[in-house]
Symmetry: D2
Subunit: 419 residues, 4 copies
Amino acid sequence: MTREEYLPNLDQKRLGVWIIGALGDVATTSMVGAAAIARGLRGTTGLVSELEEIRKLPLTPLSGFVFGGHDVRTGNPWETALRLENELRCFGMPLLEQIQDSLEEIAPRIRPGIIQGASGLMQSMLSHDVASRQESVEQAVERVRKDLRDFAEQEDLESIVVIHLTSTEPSRPWNPSFDSLSQLRQAISSNDQTIPASVLYAFAAFEESASFVNFTPSLGSSIPALQELAKEKAVCHAGKDGKTGETLVRTMLAPMFVARNLHVLSWSGFNVLGNRDGKILSDPSANDAKTSGKDAVLRSILGSHIDDSLTRIDYVPSLKDWKTAWDLIHFEGFLGTKMTLQFTWQGADSALAAPLILDLARLVQAGRDAGRVGMLSELACFFKDPMGWNENSFPVQVAKFEEFARELGTELAAKAGPQ
Amino acid sequence: MTREEYLPNLDQKRLGVWIIGALGDVATTSMVGAAAIARGLRGTTGLVSELEEIRKLPLTPLSGFVFGGHDVRTGNPWETALRLENELRCFGMPLLEQIQDSLEEIAPRIRPGIIQGASGLMQSMLSHDVASRQESVEQAVERVRKDLRDFAEQEDLESIVVIHLTSTEPSRPWNPSFDSLSQLRQAISSNDQTIPASVLYAFAAFEESASFVNFTPSLGSSIPALQELAKEKAVCHAGKDGKTGETLVRTMLAPMFVARNLHVLSWSGFNVLGNRDGKILSDPSANDAKTSGKDAVLRSILGSHIDDSLTRIDYVPSLKDWKTAWDLIHFEGFLGTKMTLQFTWQGADSALAAPLILDLARLVQAGRDAGRVGMLSELACFFKDPMGWNENSFPVQVAKFEEFARELGTELAAKAGPQ
Amino acid sequence: MTREEYLPNLDQKRLGVWIIGALGDVATTSMVGAAAIARGLRGTTGLVSELEEIRKLPLTPLSGFVFGGHDVRTGNPWETALRLENELRCFGMPLLEQIQDSLEEIAPRIRPGIIQGASGLMQSMLSHDVASRQESVEQAVERVRKDLRDFAEQEDLESIVVIHLTSTEPSRPWNPSFDSLSQLRQAISSNDQTIPASVLYAFAAFEESASFVNFTPSLGSSIPALQELAKEKAVCHAGKDGKTGETLVRTMLAPMFVARNLHVLSWSGFNVLGNRDGKILSDPSANDAKTSGKDAVLRSILGSHIDDSLTRIDYVPSLKDWKTAWDLIHFEGFLGTKMTLQFTWQGADSALAAPLILDLARLVQAGRDAGRVGMLSELACFFKDPMGWNENSFPVQVAKFEEFARELGTELAAKAGPQ
Amino acid sequence: MTREEYLPNLDQKRLGVWIIGALGDVATTSMVGAAAIARGLRGTTGLVSELEEIRKLPLTPLSGFVFGGHDVRTGNPWETALRLENELRCFGMPLLEQIQDSLEEIAPRIRPGIIQGASGLMQSMLSHDVASRQESVEQAVERVRKDLRDFAEQEDLESIVVIHLTSTEPSRPWNPSFDSLSQLRQAISSNDQTIPASVLYAFAAFEESASFVNFTPSLGSSIPALQELAKEKAVCHAGKDGKTGETLVRTMLAPMFVARNLHVLSWSGFNVLGNRDGKILSDPSANDAKTSGKDAVLRSILGSHIDDSLTRIDYVPSLKDWKTAWDLIHFEGFLGTKMTLQFTWQGADSALAAPLILDLARLVQAGRDAGRVGMLSELACFFKDPMGWNENSFPVQVAKFEEFARELGTELAAKAGPQ
């Protein structure tokens, strides 16, 4: 049965993609890319969902993507795209001009974000409107929910995937209300200002029966309370922390040392980047949250095969979106011989993350179409800190993902039934 | 059932390991390592056969390894070990002194090698004795067979694994006699001097019912004629071209680009090394054989995900055994964004290859113990150009090898029977 | 005395800059740059002649540059600029549009080049017109001379600097006619087709009293015969082989090893590039000419402080104008301790070379204004193979150049006389 | 006049070299090296004082070096040398055994150090004896002075050079007593415990008419009070902070960007090392002192040619003495084209620093022999933070040093007088 046969009206399929951080570089690049590819102006390189084995699934076509979202900044996607082009010459003006209308039509669907739990540095970067807003936690949640309802109604959408794509939140002590849904509801109604925005967004999404993808290291939907709610509402979610650069390479390389019984004496990694994400990470608490995660990943793969690891992220404005990472792997082989492997990664952060946003929206929606509920742990290969599956080896994650795609194909074909 | 239970007399097990190129750096390092580990002077880092899941198998203990071999040079393992230590300080004199007796007892088991098909450069590096020997192809084969029989008798060995570990032979046009065993036999008896030594060694090994491991890019047992003979004699063989450095990293990294649908525009790799292997590779015909293989590996994994590749190997004497490789991967991501990944590998060639020699001897013997016959394609992860399985992705190879080890465990336990 | 005082009509100064290879990437980039800077659209970064101490000299303003030249390709600067922008996004379309008129007015001043001594590969890349032209050596020289005369007349130019900027010519045996001017004249009249184009261009330039800058490794004006002619005609010349990338870094770093009495065991360098220059260098004879020069430079600085060196240049089309070089310096320090320094250079070839073209045109003209005659060996810091001074240490060359600039200032001020 | 003529009894010359931090890796390596070279067991690679132009000076032969020193650890040079050999295989046991007597005879000349101003971390690493000592500042100074007097008497030394080679002291607010000698004397007698040990050592050295070399970033003799004392006592001093690795390469490369009018957008450097020095630098205050110095050096050379710089030093124990640094230089060339240069430095810290200790002892003594007094600013090329000359360009420093050596030759020849 071909793709067209088991989902014959695929081309009319539409999907609401609501991005938290909709004016960020990654969000904008994914909007530009969706429009450019949908119109045949660019190829599908970088999209996992366009790999031969995955594109057999009845995934929403990029032409069916309807974007909207929240942001704490003022602005609009077209302006952001122009700024990116000006800074990085990443799209080419001729391309941008051809898709200007697509970007401009998103502008009215960008709503002011919420800022619970933001760091001081982040707050200092906010637009005046957002920073001065006085609303209770409950009001904030209600506002977000209403924005989602309006989006669905105005655009006549059956399904919405909410993608969390804001800058890293500072790490904070565990809030006991995260442990169960009832406690979380109570904390919200008692205006507990320590609940971070990422949790509130996920809560709001689930309440509105939207799927949720957490592309950031922030808590989002990972807490028990929200896992409970996702099941209750029969929605899917996936996360967390998109795996795009140094960690992608690390989780690819680390299993090699295990397979050859080599002993990593130390794995040191230094990241420099110059975009807004980098600026926020120059705040020590956000930085700690990020680097400790990166270290944990290595240890989870290498286990007793590693002694020591170190990760640093520094803000170097001139690099803008070009995240450069240098890793020095000092390892011991046969008879204690010490050797090294170094790598230098020079990647455009937005170009690496943006296609995964489109992939995840499609795949989470496909999971839902197939009747899956709760965490989609099979999507681990997309994330630095996969929810629901403590496996960080990229090759192992990829094998699981390929199996998942095959299963999904079977399930969706079964649902589509005899035509 | 534990290891001890299903093969209770494991500690008395002995295995003849006959190395072609027995006075080379890799051979010597594997002899030093086997002795050092058997006596508990060094740990097992670098030995795949000592990974938790593999060491459950009833593999020959290193204390049961009996070494011997052929070489075209004069000398002995103890002298080679001293030279290596002097050049590279790779073992430490205190260690060497503790195992001096083990190395010295190997000396009488080193026999003069054969040189059919060697390049002019290689011939110029031979000891006078070997170079001046006048013998027909048939005589050469008979001599090798007799050496193997003597080895088995004098050391009272049930099984021998022959490991081919000489410098790369120059590439030559296909010899039609390779196509079937009868033709090969005839070519040998008609003194066809173009049959390369690696083929003759494999032929001799099989005739003496020894297993054969080809750790070099030379033809060895890969030709149809010898596949036929291996089956006839019910022996196992594996190869070819040990995967130890740049290609190991390449075959680990390349699948990452496929999994993320990234397009490799060009993959350029430059190797510099200063050991005898490097000197032989400064001969253009040997170099071509080696680099074209390295390029083919990339293409086989990346398929339509790569446009262009380039590999160079240069002889830089000062580096001695330290093979340094720099790879520049120029790739395209979302919306045609061009990015790069570079890596620099600084590895001690002998320390990387030597443990794999020990692993392969153990594993090929275990395959034979389990009743396997012919090519052990499941050992692909050890080789740059795996025989019998056209799969170069290291993660995929490793998954297959792990499965093989599990199956072997079951088969060997079944053979051991109820105790 | 200020710049304005001793050359009061500086702003009206005009200089003919005649580029051999006028449709190449470097030539085009220098034309774009001159126009952009003259109009204040871009800053002067990369121009040595705009350093604080150099810009005190009465150099021709960029607004006074009048470009023309020869090329063996058909086309025009505006088209080349568009192609470069399209391939590399190196200028930005808004900039190009603002200077379109400047580029377009150069088009009629581009004349068909001559191809004596070109390699087979280069010939295969020629435009049909040029390749099929049948003219004697003397006719070729006459044609070039006429083009220069026409340029001077039509543009009303007092002075012309000819810049040689074609792809590397293959190395050939020394032609005895190079030894004296009379012999060269005779070889030209006897139609000796082995005289390479670079020599003929330099000959024609000197005959027309134009200065000559050789930015390529080709012979150009370096032969005794042309040194003689330059003196006879009282013109200046400088060369050869612009120092822009790997060699710049090498000649900066190498003196450090000498100053610290460190011993370089081996210096290995690998260059990959993808522009037309790279394609021509994939021809072995051009490649040899280039790499042997690069090795000689290292030896000339390091003397007994180096054992071994190796340089490779490979054509990797995907990199286009981005020349990437990796150098591995293996060196020995105190007590024989072996250490390494590696560097990776990622430079845009045209952006590195183009400003030096403008610098050299200005400085050679200033030398002439000051009454200098013959080789300007003080400009060695611009070249890989400096004419007239066997010094390759970049720091030493720079110190000499700074002294030269001070002297030139004094001489020019004296010429300008009391105001 | 030859070296022998103007200092005929050179071979009998003896020099007391008193090292503060005498049990450190660098001190031990310099002792091993001096003995090995004096006995002809190793060559002179790495010794600046053995360069052709410098060795013409009547410098003390290494056989005339008499070592002694202070340390806050217990132990002796022979033990330290064995530990280094064991950890790094840096000398080779055969060499060590041949010079064992030379190292052992130094042991009785190692005295307990003083610890004023040490950081908490450093204090925690002290030997019990030293840490528990209760002495006033004045008593500490007197003790050090007595040790120096005893050294001179017992070894019958005319001259002593004190070399400060301890781990970096934490940075502290400026102590007003540093401004003049009388104030410093008063602060010492009033037991001001905030005066750091490096200052007290330099004070004691000068009081005993010994020269002083500060190889560390600590204050040492750099303060006005001690400049005054040095002049009063007519002794020489030099410093500070030996330039051995990343900063050496940086100060070599940075002038290249200036000479080509390239604009450094950001220069990011990451150092990892695993020796005691690295451990002390894991203390933030010591780290800040070190990294801010490294940044200042770049800015002093690049001036307006740099926007941004960043330096990090991290402790990675597995690397031991192998200091590895990765620098990423992001720069802008013609027309705003952005390019990068990366380098990776893998150096053995002790092997880099040790020969400079020997050089500096010889050169400072030669300065004194020639009648120089006070700061020897001409030795700037040896230091990251040169005293008395605000010039950080390595090429410029080297040119000055070469001129200094020539002048010293003339002065010493004049002193030696007509023979």
